[in-house]
Symmetry: C2
Subunit: 123 residues, 2 copies
Amino acid sequence: MAHEDVAIDETDRLIASNKVEGTAVYNRQGERLGTIYNFMVDKRSGKVEYAVLQFGGFLGIGTENFPLPWDVLDYDPDQRGYVVDIDKEVLEKAPRYREGEEPRYDRDYGREVYSYYNINYPY
Amino acid sequence: MAHEDVAIDETDRLIASNKVEGTAVYNRQGERLGTIYNFMVDKRSGKVEYAVLQFGGFLGIGTENFPLPWDVLDYDPDQRGYVVDIDKEVLEKAPRYREGEEPRYDRDYGREVYSYYNINYPY
């Protein structure tokens, strides 16, 4: 990435969606959990409801997607990735889906996902 | 895109960031203004502060970026793109930047951009 691009990708307050996509995610123990695949954005409010963590698989086969509430992600400049306070054991039981088995992403699903991470679902 | 991917890219309420990136943007006259390059997201609130419209250029040379308030974008399924109520003459005078001339994206800039499109800057 050219030096000039850095400013536009990130400021003190803002971060670019295409910078976050593909960024590694670690837990507090430094284990690599996967990468951010994309954001799911509320069309009306413009609020990011989930950052989707993608994990495993090869060429999309066997890949699992874990929707995470935005608030669980903390960026760590040292690791050049996001850190989440989620043990691997917790992630193993977390709401997730495979390609072709997507959830409806309705509010019931939102409450399920957010409550799994002990975050109030505000939508 | 495989059929199964459609559900995850978009639901009634939510849209995936990587679906919006690269989507065409038209004005009400049906003129193609450019494509969405990325979102700029508030790190704390998770709110999309801008969708960046990219316009012109070749291989990034001469490209201009127009940060747009999220609220000015309406998706039109018929055109498979976003429609904004902005005449080309208005866009010609709109806040924009070239590669390497990025703004600081501070709140003064936010107020400037939002007020240009007659939208209250809520940050």
